[in-house]
């Protein structure tokens, strides 16, 4: 266990090389991938989120931790797929049409992955039909919409309206976030939740998934 704690530490320190090396050693030693995720990676990312909320960590530390976590996760994914292990939930995320900013979206995506979710990242400037396609073909049950600009916020509303028109709105929970977005705006456009921070988004996603 002491050796495996190096994985928590590597994620906390954003050390991708060490995270991958410890993961490889653990797998070689027969450690269950699910144990690595649930006992080490998820708690480490939760701690990263806590440190961010406490303003001890900032965006760069968060992204480096996520990068370390991903380096480890890359090694685990094939094994998880082979074993049929299910993620905490399936989330599709993107910055809405017209908006090319992706730092906030990347942060939320990384924290969701760190929280055990499977994240389908559609990138930035995403048209509504791409979200619909991800819901219909990949089984996403949570939709995360990001916008940094006031001028692109109407795209959030248009995306939610498009989900309704496509008949998939009731299949998913829609979370919105981004610098100009407010809880009031989220309510006005018919979103199910508003995440002020990446951590808040993860907490909401967990609640919606019953995790």
């Amino acid at each position: 266990m002491a050796e495996l704690n190096r994985l928590n530490q590597a994620i906390l320190e954003g050390d991708a090389k060490t995270a991958a090396a410890v993961t490889r050693e653990a797998l070689d030693g027969g450690v269950d991938p699910v144990v690595l995720i649930q006992k080490h990676m998820v708690p480490a990312m939760d701690e990263v989120g806590r440190l961010y909320e406490a303003e001890e960590y900032f965006v760069p530390e968060l992204l480096l931790a996520a990068r370390a976590m991903k380096a480890s996760l890359e090694l685990l994914r094939p094994l998880l797929a082979a074993s049929g292990a299910e993620p905490a939930g399936r989330v599709v995320i993107g910055t809405v049409k017209g908006d090319l900013h992706d730092i906030g979206k990347n942060l939320v995506g990384s924290m969701l992955e760190g929280g055990g979710f499977e994240v389908i990242d559609l990138g930035a400037d995403v048209a509504p039909d791409k979200f619909i396609e991800a819901i219909q073909t990949r089984g996403a049950r949570i939709v995360c919409l990001s916008a940094l600009l006031t001028v692109t916020m109407p795209s959030m509303k248009k995306t939610i309206e498009a989900l309704k028109e496509a008949g998939v709105r009731d299949q998913v929970k829609v979370l919105v976030g981004g610098a100009p977005v407010t809880p009031q705006f989220a309510e006005e456009i018919g979103a199910d939740g508003y995440g002020e921070t990446a951590n808040a988004a993860v907490a909401l996603a967990r609640r919606f998934s019953g995790v």
Partner: protein, 351 residues
């Protein structure tokens, strides 16, 4: 050499002027905003109309921070329309060929000439800052910076090598833009560095030393300031990102711009302790939320304005009340934004 008075902004603050940066609203009142954006004369008229509307003696331009990247991408031989999606995937060339500015950039420069020739306004240019441009040239700008802060170098990590070479091109591109705007007659240059914030530069990294903030933010902006001052123009330094006190103090005392414009996350009254007395503070009403009546009712705009004006007056520090960034047109919300800006212009503390 420009003849602008170095005390221009101190004088405006003494006269209790206030104004938002809001040319985008006027632009969207035009029949074809996107056409207007590419026409120097129409753009000049938009700037003049905005200045008249808000009683501002400066020809504040559109805050279009896409122009310099579009210019750089165009000089790489790619269509300017691809600029926003472009990122360097491998180390860029050391130099770029000279080419004419793309249409929208040329129009912005032409609008400065138009303002100078046809109005009594102080002609004003604008550019994205070199660091912020760098962050837009990389798909992931945070990782190489963090690796550099930990002592990495370009020989070990290709991401760092790309970042270092892109930095050189970013600086050259910004200098080219500023040079053309000064040549066109700009007497004030707004340098926008929103990425020089805790989103890209962690205070933990700064506390640990390593000089990333100095090397990537302060040094290039000092060079830019010196170029602007050498032309007799004034520096209006804008950063609406999340900042630490140390960052604000460095922008105030080290860069020492004529104006320091900050976002609504800052307590401007407290920041007077961080900025030299002759640095005019500009801002910082939360104008990004003016689009929403539920998030920001007009009564709240009045309350915030009155509070800001009263607190800043109490400090005695030179201050021009204004927006936290440019006030952008939001589809379907033009009227409510206009009502709130009008309320901001009038709200006064009780005598």
């Amino acid at each position: 050499m420009s003849g602008v008075d170095q005390g221009l902004f101190l004088d405006l603050a003494r006269r209790s002027l206030r104004f938002p940066i809001a040319a985008d609203l006027t632009l969207h009142e035009q029949a074809e905003p996107e056409t207007a954006r590419r026409d120097a004369t129409i753009l000049g008229r938009v700037i003049a109309e905005s200045a008249k509307r808000w009683g501002c003696p400066i020809g504040l331009p559109l805050m279009d921070l896409r122009l310099e990247k579009a210019d750089l991408v165009s000089r790489l031989g790619l269509p300017a329309e691809e600029a926003e999606r472009f990122h360097f995937a491998e180390p860029p060339p050391d130099t770029l060929p000279e080419r004419p500015f793309p249409e929208a950039h040329a129009a912005a420069i032409g609008a400065i000439r138009w303002v100078r020739a046809h109005t009594a306004l102080v002609p004003c240019g604008i550019t994205i800052g070199p660091f912020s441009l760098l962050t837009r040239l990389l798909a992931d700008p945070i990782t190489p910076l963090a690796l550099l802060a930990r002592g990495g170098d370009g020989r070990e990590d290709p991401e760092i090598e790309v970042a270092l070479r892109a930095r050189t091109l970013a600086m050259e591109t910004v200098e080219r833009s500023v040079g053309a705007q000064l040549e066109a007659g700009a007497e004030v240059i707004i340098v926008c560095e929103p990425s020089a914030s805790t989103a890209y530069l962690s205070p933990r990294q700064m506390r640990a030393g390593g000089g990333l903030f100095e090397e990537f933010v302060l040094a290039p902006n000092r060079r830019l300031r010196d170029r602007i001052r050498a032309a007799g123009a004034l520096l209006f330094f804008h950063n609406c990102g999340e900042l630490t006190d140390a960052m604000v103090a460095a922008f105030g005392a080290d860069l020492h711009p004529e104006v320091l414009s900050l976002g609504s996350s800052r307590d401007l009254a407290a920041d007077t302790a961080l900025a030299p007395e002759d640095v005019v503070l500009y801002g910082n009403l939360p104008t990004r939320r003016f689009y929403s009546d539920s998030a920001m009712p007009v009564e709240e705009v009045v309350r915030l304005t009155v509070d800001l004006v009263a607190r800043m007056r109490a400090t005695g520090h030179a201050h021009i009340p204004g927006s936290e960034c440019d006030v952008l047109h939001v589809e379907g919300a033009a009227e409510t934004i206009g009502v709130k800006l009008a309320a901001f212009m009038k709200a006064e503390p009780e005598a």
